[in-house]
């Protein structure tokens, strides 16, 4: 996987979506419930940006950081797959911060 990834921040972490999956970005105010939040007070968030996905769906994020053209990706092993969120396909680094790269379409964000 080396094609472009859109890097976004959501729930405090960095995520990468294949650029081809994203149709557009809009500014909104949307309150959302979060599942699996580890800390109290994190169970709802107001997200400011919304990604319109190529498959018609949408995803609210806190910020869009960059479109990364070339990322060195560490594929997620069978062992680590159990621990990372469903749909995680690889790990990368952006300016020293870890990024979780999601696989192609049909994957659902659980956070």
């Amino acid at each position: 996987m080396t094609a472009g990834f859109l890097i976004v921040r959501r729930a405090g972490a960095l995520w990468g979506l294949p650029a081809a999956q994203v149709a557009g970005i809009e500014r909104v105010e949307r309150a959302e419930r979060l599942e699996g939040a580890k800390q109290a007070g994190e169970d709802s968030a107001t997200r400011r940006l919304e990604l319109r996905l190529a498959d018609g769906g949408s995803l609210a994020v806190d910020a869009v950081l960059t479109l990364a053209g070339e990322l060195r990706v560490q594929p997620v092993s069978a062992r680590l797959r159990r621990f990372l969120p469903a749909g995680s396909a690889g790990l990368a680094l952006l300016a020293g911060e870890p990024v979780v790269l999601m696989a192609g379409k049909d994957e659902v964000f659980h956070v």
Binding site: A13, L14, L34, G36, K38, L80, P98, V100
Partner: protein
């Protein structure tokens, strides 16, 4: 009697032994990025030697009692073997010392160090569902 070196680490009240040959580095104060929505065994993600590193909670992996505090020390370890070997961070409370254990310790899964029982970790199979 042949012996093998192991790194002894503290997990709450318990002590575990990791084969020293599998340990790459012991690190304190690694910048940890928690990942919401990840399983309970994942403490978070970090950066090590220019690569992303997943940090797992060793006590949780070994099925020991849950601790309230976040692991203070990360043992960067190779899990698995051969081509499938991958570098993973294991979160522990403290790293104590490197001790020589009998070669049979791994097979037994436990050993006695200074009279205290110690859980011997098999890094090849750690983290893989049975």
């Amino acid at each position: 009697m042949t012996t093998t070196p192991y790194l002894l680490v503290r997990l709450g009240e318990r002590i575990a032994a990791l084969p020293a040959a599998a340990v790459r580095r012991v690190v304190r104060g690694a910048r940890l990025h928690p990942l919401p929505g990840a399983g309970p065994g994942l403490v978070g993600l970090a950066e090590f030697a220019g690569e992303p590193l997943a940090i797992l909670d060793l006590a949780q992996l070994l099925g020991l009692e849950e601790r309230s505090s976040r692991p203070a020390v990360t043992v960067v370890t190779w899990l698995g073997s051969g081509d499938e070997r991958e570098l993973v961070g294991l979160g522990v409370d403290d790293a104590i010392e490197v001790a020589e254990l009998d070669a049979s310790a791994l097979a037994l899964g436990q050993a006695l160090v200074g009279g205290r029982p110690v859980v011997v970790v098999d890094t090849e199979s750690l983290g893989v569902e049975a």
